[in-house]
Symmetry: D2
Subunit: 111 residues, 4 copies
C-alpha cells in the first residue's frame, strides 16, 4: 500500500517536472509549513475540545495530514529511505527507550 | 503495509497507556515539533548541499521522518481517518488544482 | 531599547563572521526550529497546566523566547525592516480586521 | 520602545477580551503557526534567491515577522518575562558557548 501510494505520488510529481524543486531542504520546509497549517486547526481550542471536532474540521485536518504524508513520502524517496523500515527501526529504539514498566501512564518522556 | 504499521504503532502506544495524552491538539503539536527537528538537519546548508548528505545525516533524518510518520499515524487513527484514502483524495484535488500543462516546471504554486 | 538589542545581536554575529550563513531563508528556518523547541515545553500538557509552570520550565521557555527574538531581530535587520514600524503597521491592520465590537471575547478569528 | 510596543499590544488584546485564550500553550502554538507562514515565503527558493526578494515579498515577510513579534511579546508578558533581560542573558550564554576564536566562520554550531 505504501509502495502504491509512493508510486502515485512520485508519478504526479514527475509529470509536473517538479523534481528540480524537491531537494531535501525544501521538502523539510514544506513539511514544517504543512505542520503549522495542521496545528492551526487546533489553535485557541483546549485539548478536550480537540477530541470533539465538527465534521468540517475533520475534513480540513484530513487534508493537512495528507499534505504532510505526501511530502514525507517524497522526502523519503529522494533520500532512498524506506518508510516502513525506518518506522520499524524507530519503534525498536523506542521500545528500549521507553520500557513498558517505567513508561506506563507517564508523559514525562516522549512520545 | 500501512495497516500493519498502524497496528504496531497503536499497540506500542496502548501498552504504555499513552492514549490519555494523545488528543489531536497535542498530536498536532508533536508533529510540528518533530518537523522542526527534521528541519534542523538542513539548517545553514544550501539547497544543493542538502542533496549531498553524509550517511550519519541520512540516519538522523530517517529517525525524524519516522517520528513524524508515527505521530501522523496516531493522529489519523484517533480521528478515524484512513491515510490511504485521504492521500488519494488529496492527490485528486491537486490534479485539478495543478493541471499538468500549466504547472509543468513551475514552482509558483505548491506542492 | 530595540535598537540597543539589535546592535548587540548584530555585533555578536559579525564578530563570528556568521553573516554569510544568515540569508533570509535560513533565518526563517532557524525561527521555525526554535518555535518547535519552545512548543516542546508545552507538549502533553493541558492549556491550564501551561498557566502553572515550574520555575525551571519558565527559565527554559525564556531561553527559547530569547532565541526566537534574536533570529527575528537578525532577519528584520537583513531585510532592512524596522520591527517597531512593522508591528505598528500590523496592529493598525488588525484593528480594522478585528473591530472591538465584533471580536470581543471571540476566538473565531486570530489573533 | 519595547515597553511601548508591549503596552500597545496588550491594550489591543485586552480591549478584545482575548486574555482568556492566551494561555502559554496556545501562544506557543500561535508562534509556531506564524513561523510556518513566514517560512512559506521562502519555499522552493534557493538561499541566494532569498537575498533578492521583490518588494511585495518583503511586505508580506514583514507582516509575518510582526505577527511573531506580537505573540512573542504576549507570551513573555503572560510569563512575567522581560524580553530585554532574557535576550541579554541568552547572548551571555552564547558568548561562552561560541567563543569568537573557535566559532568564527563556522556554521557547525548554532546560531
Amino acid at each position: 500500500m505504501l509502495d502504491r501510494l509512493r508510486e502515485k505520488i512520485i508519478e504526479f510529481r514527475d509529470l509536473r517536472d517538479w523534481e528540480q524543486f524537491h531537494d531535501p531542504k525544501n521538502l523539510a520546509e514544506a513539511i514544517a509549513i504543512e505542520s503549522g497549517e495542521l496545528l492551526e486547526n487546533f489553535l485557541w481550542k483546549t485539548c478536550s475540545d480537540s477530541r470533539n471536532l465538527s465534521s468540517d474540521a475533520v475534513v480540513s485536518i484530513g487534508e493537512e495530514i495528507a499534505d504532510i504524508a505526501i511530502f514525507l513520502t517524497i522526502l523519503a524517496h529522494e533520500m532512498n529511505l524506506n518508510i516502513e523500515e525506518i518506522v520499524d527501526r524507530k519503534l525498536k529504539l523506542n521500545e528500549d527507550r521507553y520500557p513498558v514498566e517505567i513508561s506506563r501512564g507517564s508523559a514525562e518522556k516522549r512520545p
